[in-house]
């Protein structure tokens, strides 16, 4: 059962071979066994999960089940879920029980998907290794001494170790795709505005986007059908007709034009990753696709641009954590200013503080034009690069990350080196485009390699189609780590 896809689980439930309660119990048992090793979950609440499973079973008994009713998933601890501890990986919210549901949670509940628990993550989604979590790092199921990637590292590890068949994640600069790559699973970051940000704790509002993480493109498509949809409570949510993200899965790839950005196959790319990507390209050619070289000249600026804009927004978004209304408050203080300073000094970790300081600096009087405004201009140029590339190709293909998963602690001392691990993913967020990562092999170290697909706006169904066709002729996505 633990190798099973969402579609198969749905079939088990529909045919009466298993109840949602049984499925949930099975996953909860596996979580109980593996989580002490992997630390993928911050909160597990079997009672709550089983109650949701029983409700789903009743729906099915009453003949009111939908496609995925009763199929459990895990949620990144960035989504507010009523009655659940919702920490965002921070000491600041270590005691925060959400009093309301995020739009994504509402939709999952409406579809009858029980919640298996809340997954670990980098603090406020700031990090690429899951090491900034107040609740300790997550371990990579493929190599326990390696990081799972971040910030959705808990979701990625949980799915890779089959502690959940699928999970939600969020991606601000690569936080779905990079951990998906490091953990050998499939993840999709949709077009900005496709999945509502309401109830998704903000890191950088103009970049944050929720999306599915699962073992296959097909499962990502099924979960997208649940997660996506217009929400009037998010002013950046796009009002578009509902889509069936599975609609193009079986489309053949004959004639598909794959763009290969010169800049993604240059210096910095490890030989392991390059080899796996080359092999995948050969597979795509066999499927009838053609490749064409494209150029994204401005993409080299995406890391510096991102590390101006994202901290700027974060410095403001995180101002609400002041100890006044909820969350952590320093136990002792002398006056108001002292309460603010101690609360925030004690409640936030180093990486969060670093970004708040960078963001405060770039927005300050006298620096705003040189940093924030300049970065906004470059952001437009980066988006124009992609627009030009999509004149020549249907999808862009490249590595998700320069290397396979690195060792725990390896980059903790050097933030810039850590930031560079997102060098291939960040430009996609700056442009607001959809992107996904899918497993395409292993490095010499036995750790998974991720392949990134980038599409034009609203081309999620096409990206899922391309990934699905590849997964029909390869089995990387079915490989299972042996967690000891």
């Amino acid at each position: 059962m633990n190798h099973t896809s969402l579609k198969q689980l749905s079939h088990l439930l529909a045919s009466g071979q298993a109840s949602s309660r049984e499925l949930c119990q099975d996953y909860l048992d596996r979580i109980a066994r593996l989580n002490p090793v992997l630390n993928a979950f911050i909160t597990v609440d079997p009672e709550r999960t089983l109650a949701e499973a029983e409700a789903a079973d009743r729906l099915r008994a009453e003949g009111r089940a939908g496609a995925l009713t009763g199929v459990p998933i895990a949620h990144k601890d960035i989504f507010c879920a009523e009655g659940w501890l919702t920490t965002c990986g921070s000491k600041m919210l270590a005691n925060f029980v959400a009093p309301y549901d995020a739009h994504v949670i509402e939709r999952c509940k409406a579809a009858g998907l029980p919640c298996l628990g809340k997954t670990n993550m980098d603090e406020f989604a700031m990090g690429s290794s899951n090491e900034t979590s107040y609740f300790g790092p997550v371990r990579n199921p493929w190599a326990l001494q390696a990081v799972p990637g971040g910030s959705s590292g808990g979701s990625a590890a949980a799915v890779a170790a089959r502690m959940a068949p699928a999970a939600t994640g969020t991606d601000t600069g690569g936080s779905i795709r990079q951990p998906a790559a490091f953990c050998g699973i499939t993840g999709l970051k949709p077009t900005y505005g496709t999945v509502s940000r309401y109830g998704m704790i903000a890191f950088a509002s103009s970049l944050d986007q929720g999306g599915p993480m699962a073992t296959s493109a097909e499962d990502c498509a099924l979960l997208m059908n649940v997660m996506a949809g217009f929400d009037a409570r998010d002013s950046t949510s796009l009002e578009r007709p509902a889509e069936d993200y599975t609609r193009d899965l079986t489309r053949p790839l004959i004639g598909l034009r794959i763009g290969l950005p010169r800049e993604y196959f240059a210096e910095g790319l490890s030989a392991d990753v390059a080899r796996a990507i080359e092999a995948a390209l050969a597979e795509f050619r066999r499927l009838g696709a053609q490749t064409v070289e494209v150029s994204l000249p401005m993409s080299r600026l995406s890391v510096p641009v991102y590390y101006v804009l994202a901290p700027a927004e974060a410095s403001s978004n995180l101002a609400r954590y002041d100890g006044v209304r909820y969350g952590y408050r320093a136990p002792e203080y002398t006056d108001l200013t002292d309460m603010y300073e101690r609360t925030r000094a004690e409640g936030f970790g180093d990486e969060v503080k670093r970004r708040i300081m960078i963001g405060t600096y770039v927005l300050s009087h006298g620096y705003y034009d040189a940093y924030y405004l300049q970065a906004q201009k470059l952001r437009r140029l980066i988006a124009q690069d992609f627009a030009a590339a999509f004149q020549q190709c249907d999808v862009i293909l490249g590595p998700t990350t320069p290397t396979t998963a690195f060792e725990l602690g390896a980059k903790r001392a050097d933030p810039v080196e850590m930031y560079l691990s997102d060098i291939y993913t960040i430009a996609v967020n700056l442009a607001g485009l959809p992107g996904m990562s899918l497993p395409c092999g292993f490095g010499a170290d036995g750790r998974p390699v991720g392949l990134q697909l980038i599409g034009d706006y609203f081309s999620e169904a096409r990206l899922l189609n391309v990934a699905h066709q590849y997964q029909q002729v390869t089995d990387w996505h079915t490989r299972l780590p042996e967690v000891k």
Binding site: C88, Y100, Y198, A202, A204, S235, T236, S316, A319
Partner: protein, 486 residues
């Protein structure tokens, strides 16, 4: 040295939307603390703002009413600072691209009209309230007001005296209540004024250094604060000290201003466009629909009253001090129409204006009532005016009828009949009384004939007395002259 005071005002106008500017919570005043603060107002993790279209509509109404430019694309920004009653740690406001720019408002100071330029008006959310009383050694926070929609209206430094500043504030108050975007309640903080004040040698072109007086919530305090501040600044300069830019507070108890913070202590608000809100795009059709719904404005009415009704600038300004007053006045005029007056509509208008601004205003004042609460309806006042106009009532009797109308004794004609107040129109009866008065006052008759005009007035008085004021004075005059001359 002769000094000139230079004043610019920033006015925070609370808009009349039922819900807050970025959430669905109610804006009603006076609820128990924190009962009107939803998840968005509390700034819980993950919540997002959604712009209330009603607030935008009201800002457009204002922009149209002051002939301003409406920015077809305007942008909300975040103004970042920490304060316990500011839940998000930033205020959503408009900074570089406000919704309204470059309008103007005429004001009336005595007989003089002056135009005050309005730099900009932008939408923003209000903060909550910190409650320092009632909590020993602690501060209470009430977030009911957090997120209440405000329009901040910023003038150019076009005013040159406290009186001009008050006239502008009053004109603005009249306008925002007139077009229904604000309830105008200053006690509840619906209309709050900050005054930027500087002084300079008369004739100088350059502005002096300004100090900003915060949060003045009455016209009287506005006047007192500016006068004190200007005097203080002149004193400093004359004593050879420089003025430093600062924010000050006015203490109504002492009548003085005192420093709150210096320029050096001013915040760096780190404004940047709010990524949670898209730029606001104003649709031309929407603007035109709002324009079509706009009522006739005070300045338009003033011009019309002067041109069509031949009222003075002063009368026109007084009658348009509030929309309710103007509506009352126009209802009286409408009830009088077609005008019975031989002098035509202008005569009726002057009569109506005099009564609305005179006896009616006095009666309302006495009881502390608003004109909308008047005990006399416009129709009944018109009934009284008709009887004055047609000579049925002398001005003295008219006052008596007015008092009876105010006391609720029915309409004018009923009161006239019940009290027998009708002016005497029976010439025979008046002739008889005149003859009796002449017979009874031979001394006065003699004096008159000897050329003493005063004696004539005494005879008129005697006739009026004998008729208990019901005689038409013109008729009495004519009859007396006829008899005495004969």
């Amino acid at each position: 040295m002769q000094w000139e005071t230079v004043i610019g005002l920033e006015v925070h106008v609370q808009l009349t939307t039922a819900a807050k500017i970025f959430s669905g919570a109610s804006t009603a005043f006076g609820a128990a603390p924190n009962t009107q603060a939803c998840a968005v107002d509390l700034a819980l993790p993950g919540v997002l703002p959604v712009l209330n279209k009603g607030a935008v509509e009201r800002a457009i109404r204002f922009g149209l009413a002051i002939g301003a430019r409406l920015n077809r694309i305007n942008v909300f920004a975040r103004k970042n600072y920490f304060y316990p009653d500011l839940p998000k740690g930033y205020q959503i406001s408009q900074y570089e691209l406000p919704i309204v720019e470059a309008g103007s408002l005429p004001i009336q100071v005595g007989e003089q009209t002056k135009t005050i330029r309005i730099t900009r008006a932008h939408l923003e959310e209000d903060a909550g309230k910190s409650l320092h009383e009632d909590f020993h050694g602690m501060t209470g926070i009430d977030l009911n007001r957090a997120g209440t929609p405000l329009l901040e209206i910023v003038s150019e430094p076009d005013m040159r005296s406290a009186q001009e500043a008050v006239a502008y504030a009053r004109a603005l108050h009249t306008l925002v209540t007139w077009i229904g975007i604000c309830d105008g309640n200053m006690q509840e903080g619906s209309f709050r004024v900050d005054a930027n004040v500087s002084v300079r040698p008369k004739g100088s072109e350059a502005f002096g250094t300004r100090r900003e007086i915060k949060n003045l919530n009455s016209f009287r305090f506005l006047e007192q604060a500016i006068e004190y501040e200007a005097r203080w600044q002149i004193g400093e300069l004359e004593d050879g000290r420089a003025i430093h830019q600062a924010t000050v507070l006015f203490d109504p108890d002492t009548g003085e201003t005192r420093m709150m913070r210096s320029k050096e202590e001013a915040h760096d608000y780190r404004y940047f466009p709010d990524p949670d809100l898209l730029p606001v795009k104003l649709d031309e059709d929407w603007i035109e629909a709002i324009r079509a719904e706009l009522p006739e404005l005070p300045q338009q009415k003033q011009a019309r009253y002067q041109a069509e009704l031949a009222l003075s600038a002063y009368d026109a300004a007084t009658l348009t001090a509030s929309r309710a007053t103007a509506e009352y006045f126009e209802a009286v005029l409408a009830a009088l129409s077609p005008s019975p007056s031989p002098e035509g509509r202008g005569g009726a208008a002057k009569l109506a204006a005099n009564w609305v601004m005179g006896d009616l205003a006095a009666a309302l004042n006495r009881e502390g009532l608003d004109i909308a609460q008047s005990r006399i309806t416009p129709g009944r006042l018109a009934g009284l005016l008709r009887r004055i106009d047609d000579g049925t009532l002398s001005s003295k009797l008219a006052k008596e009828v007015f008092a009876a109308l105010w006391a609720g004794e029915g309409d004018a004609d009923t009161i006239i009949a019940a009290r027998g107040l009708k002016q005497m129109s029976d010439a025979g009866e008046l002739e008889r009384i005149v003859d009796e008065v002449l017979a009874a006052n031979p001394k006065s008759v003699e004096e008159y004939r000897a050329g003493k005009d005063k004696a004539f007035n005494a005879l008129v008085g005697q006739v009026m007395k004998a008729t208990r004021g019901r005689a038409n004075p013109q008729q009495v005059n004519a009859l007396l002259k006829q008899r005495l001359g004969g």
